[in-house]
Structures are given as structure tokens and as C-alpha cells.
Amino acid sequence: MRGALYFAGAILLILITLVLGLQVGTFEVDLPTIWDAFFHYDPDNTTHFAITHLRLPRLLLALVVGASLAFCGYLMQAMVNNGLADPYLLGTASGASLGAVVVFFGFVEVSIGGFYMPPVFALLGAFIVTLFVVALGYRKRQLIPAQLLLAGIAISSLVTAMVGLLTFLSDSEGKLKSVIFWSMGSFERASWSLLPYPATALLLALLLFAFLQKQLNILLLGADRAQALGVNVAQTRWAILGTVSIVTGFAVATSGPIGFVGLIIPHVTRGLMGATGRSNLLFCAFVGGLFMLLCDLLSRILYPPAGLPIGIITSFFGVPFFVYLLSRKNYKFSS
């Protein structure tokens, strides 16, 4: 019952934030205008255009990316059985950054065949680095979480150093701005054409793990006990790994590496719903989306018109909450 209430609360808050978010921007917009933009759309009205083609995709992208990162964070924490894990543990963020930087610094054309290349190369970079990390974490025909963790940290550091080197050698201020802007995350590039990629990846992943939530909870008891209880640990780990790399890859490629969401929200979820709630993953995705929507709204209110980089807001508001949560006496990572 309490879980259902939390779900209803999260959905209601998401809807309220969406409506509020639709009202914030350069064009002054009231509720009747929002209504008209959706139900009496006038193609010549620039305000209607801004609501439907700029604000709505931006809000939905924030929702999807927040949900993706929180969801993947939850999966990673369950897989390595460690509350400090986040979706970027596999080197996704640094790989994506390297991919984007390669384009920003002119090693590849910015636009090929009408496609804007930074997200494409970011996705490519994320996948390549993840594959490399997984290869290092794979021994004796199985994934070893501790080795995976160390490989992730080492390769991420190496790739970050490469990004640092390229940044240092940059010959223009504009390129530096692109890299800094990218590294702190933004939803300004959101569009209807971009949205389906991360959204599809997230929906498919949610569907897959609707069937695997039970195995995930058992995995929290440790690999040996989970195996004894009939869970195919190796298979579950591969499912987590594949899902995290694809979903995080799309999220990072579209919005940049936004920190802390994937670390904090899984803890919030467990704090509210218990360590092994049946709908934890779905709830985690909802709360992640809501948190990101709120952060985006705040960033646009605090620093109009461009908005503060979203990564700064997620850290500023997420970390104190995280500290509060950890200081609560009844908080547990696993059951």
C-alpha cells in the first residue's frame, strides 16, 4: 500500500513538474497557451512552436535520461553488490566524452550526411570503452565484479587523461567551451528526432528487468547464495552489463555525462521502498526522471536563458540529500 502511494506521488509530481517546466522559458506562457499549443496548434504561432518543439522534447529527454541513469545505477549497485557503484563504472562517461571531444576538436567532420556527429561518436566511444573494460573484467569464462570495478576505474582514468591532453592542446576557446559544456551535461540539444533513441533503450530495458527483478534482489545476498538459490548468476550479470552499457550509452550520448543521479537515486529508492522491493527498479526510474526534471527546471530558473549546466545542479542538490539518507539509522543497502 505504501509502495503504491509512493508511486502515485512520484507520477503526480512528474506531471506537475512537466506542466511547470512547460511554462519556463524565454516566451511567456500561461496554462491556456499550453492547452492551445497541444489542442489548437497554430503552425504560425512561435510560442506554440517553442512549447511543442523545444520545451516538451527537452523535458521528456530530461525525464528519460534521469530515469535511465537512476535505473542503470540501481542495476550496477546490485551487480557489484556495492552502494558506491554508478552507471559510469564501466567507463561509459569517459568513453563518451572522448568520442565527443574527438569530433569537437576536428578529427572528424561535425556533420556527416546531415547527422550531427558528437552524439554518434559519444555513443561509439562509450561502447568501445565499455567493451574494453568488460574484456578486462572477464576471467575464466565469467565476469568478476571486483576486477570489473578496477578495470573500469583504470580505463576511465586513462581515457580521461586522453580527453585532458586533447583539451590542453586545444587551439580555440570555442572548442574548450564545447568540451566543458558537454562534460557538465545539458538538455539543450533535445529534439523529437533525438528522443526515440534513449527512450526506446530505456523502455526495452525496463521491460526486460520487469522479469528479472526477483533475481536482482537475490543477487544482493551475494553470488554464492544466489547461485545456491537457483539464480543463474552469470546470465543475470551479462544481462545487467549489456543493459547498462546500452542504456547509459544512449543517455550520455544525448545529454553528456551527468553525475550523481545514478548514484543517489537508487539509495533514495531503497530508503523509501526497502532494499528488496518488488517494484524498486521501476520506482527508481520514476524518481530518477523526476529528480532530473526538477534539476533542469531549477537550472533554467536560476540562470536564464541558457540554464546552468545540469551536472552542477544534480551535484548541489543531490549530494546533501544523499548524506542525509546515509545518516538515517534504518537505512540498509541490502536485506
Binding site: F49, L54, K177, R189, S191, A306
Partner: protein, 298 residues
């Protein structure tokens, strides 16, 4: 030396310094004490004989005013006039202190925002004074030319140059004063994220001289603010500067297809200004105004 002669010379020197107009410099014995554009006090041991600039625009200023033999180096970005290529390259950011020391300049000129103050402080510790200029308008650049002339003892040349440029500016301004409809111009400097020329840039003054206006009327803290697509959609500029139609189509409008609704795109009023003209507050500022004129009134 006879005491009366000394007094006479001192008075002559004071008159010379006073004639430098707004210059806030005075000579104490052999030393020169200047006040730069940021209000900093810059002390020189005497008339500078070896100088260089840490900004490419300032290098252009020096080449226009000074005896080129007194210019001892250039930055990697300096590409105008052709004479700069004969000068040794010095890294200006981060500053290659050893190379600067090796060239032994008496004074380094720079522009606000190009050289961080802590780097200037470090150079001054090493015995090399740094003189900043800052500009908010075309007239500030012209005064900057006169300022350099005064410091380098090339007043006649500097004043002649500044006056002739001033005359050209006034002529253009007269031609376009009282425009019935001022064209609104948006100038982008970078596309991802979108950075544009804000109000606090010389471009705003150049456009005013041409009877047009910077589409960004809001005053931001930064001279080159970041804007959102929605903001630009609301600005709906008449003219967009920042690249050729083909280039912006490929690198800007393919990324932000929503911005194809703006008047500049609809009417194909998209132009590519020459980078080292529009960006540099140099003696070529009038050339830059003339280029803008060709875009605004084709």
C-alpha cells in the same frame, strides 16, 4: 647640469606628457609611471625600446604605430600584417616565461580578458611590466592607438592614423544615421553550445555606426553569452552572421532545425564575416565596419 636648465627640462617634459591627452603617465627622473586601461600602475625604467603584445589585435596596433624593429615577438595567433611572421613566436597562454625573458621586452602590451592578471603579476615579478588596454567601443580602439603612440614616442604617427580612422567612421555613421528600420543582427561565435556577441562587445558599436542593432539587447554579464534556441527564436534576427549559408546549414541548422524559422534563414540573410577582422579590436576596425556594411546593405 645647471639647476635652471634642469627645471626648464622638467617643465618641458611635463608639457609633453600633458599633451598626450588622456594619458595618465608621468616621468619621475628616468622612470615612466603609467596607468593602464584596468587602472593598474605600470612602472617603466625609461622609454620602451623593445615591446611585444600578448594579443593578436594588439600586435596589429603595434605594427601600425611603432617602428617594427622595436617589436620583438608575436603570439602563435598573430597573422597580420605579413611582417609578424619574421618575429619569434612566444606562447601567450600559458605564457612561456622563459621565452619572454629571452626576448627581454621592456614592456608587454595586452588586452583585458586575454592575459590573466596573475600571469601579468608573475611577469612583473620577473621585471617585465604588462600594460593592459580595454575597449568598449570603436572610439576606445582609436584612443588605444593614440595611447600606444604616446607610450612609444610615436604620437604623430598614432594620432594621424587614429584621426583618419575617426574621420572614416564619422563618414559612415553620417551615411546611415536615421535609418527608418534598424536591422537586427545576431552574430554567433560558436554553435554547440550557442555563443553569440552580446551587448558588451565592440560589434554592438559597429552595428550602431551602420544604423543597425545587435539583436541581443539584453545585457548579460559575459560579453559572449550562451543562448538557447528558444531565445534566438524570440529574437528572430533579420541577419545572421557566423558562417556561410552552406556551412551554417551543415553545422548549425542541422543541429538546431527549429531555428530555420528565423527571418534571417527564411530570407537567406546569412553571412560569414572574416574571423580576424570581426574578432580583433585592431586598427582594421574600419575595414571590419566596411565588411559589415557589405552584409547589411548588399
Amino acid at each position: 647640469m645647471h639647476p635652471y636648465l634642469k627645471k626648464f627640462l622638467a617643465i618641458c617634459l611635463l608639457i609633453v606628457c600633458w599633451s598626450c591627452g588622456s594619458e595618465k603617465e608621468k616621468q619621475v627622473g628616468q622612470a615612466l609611471v603609467l596607468q593602464d586601461g584596468l587602472g593598474r600602475t605600470v612602472k617603466l625604467e625609461g622609454q620602451p625600446k623593445r615591446v611585444m603584445a600578448f594579443a593578436s589585435s594588439m600586435t596589429e596596433m603595434l605594427f601600425a604605430v611603432c617602428d617594427t624593429a622595436t617589436i620583438v615577438g608575436r603570439t602563435p595567433q598573430c597573422d597580420y600584417p605579413a611582417g609578424v611572421y619574421s618575429k619569434p613566436v612566444v606562447n601567450n597562454y600559458p605564457v612561456d616565461f622563459e621565452q619572454v625573458l629571452a626576448l627581454k621586452p621592456d614592456l608587454v602590451f595586452t588586452v583585458e580578458g586575454i592575459t590573466p592578471l596573475d600571469m601579468a603579476a608573475r611577469l612583473e615579478e620577473l621585471g617585465i611590466p604588462v600594460y593592459y588596454q580595454k575597449y568598449r567601443s570603436v572610439e576606445d580602439i582609436l584612443q588605444g592607438i593614440e595611447d600606444i603612440g604616446c607610450i612609444m614616442d610615436r604620437e604623430q604617427q598614432a594620432n594621424y592614423l587614429a584621426d583618419s580612422l575617426r574621420q572614416e567612421v564619422q563618414e559612415i555613421e553620417r551615411r546611415y544615421s536615421g535609418q527608418a528600420k534598424q536591422q537586427r543582427v545576431l552574430t554567433i561565435t560558436w554553435s554547440d553550445p550557442i555563443y553569440v556577441y552580446g551587448q558588451n562587445t565592440i560589434l554592438t558599436d559597429q552595428l550602431r555606426i551602420l544604423g543597425a542593432q545587435n539583436a541581443v539587447q539584453e545585457v548579460f554579464d559575459q560579453p559572449y553569452p550562451a543562448l538557447t534556441r528558444e531565445y534566438i527564436l524570440k529574437l528572430n534576427p533579420d541577419i545572421l552572421l557566423g558562417g556561410s549559408i552552406e556551412r551554417l546549414e551543415r553545422e548549425f541548422f542541422s543541429l538546431y532545425p527549429e531555428l530555420r524559422k528565423i527571418a534571417a534563414y527564411q530570407n537567406k540573410r546569412i553571412y560569414q564575416p572574416t574571423g580576424n577582422l570581426i574578432e580583433r579590436p585592431s586598427p582594421r576596425v574600419v575595414e571590419s565596419i566596411r565588411e559589415l556594411e557589405s552584409f547589411l546593405y548588399p
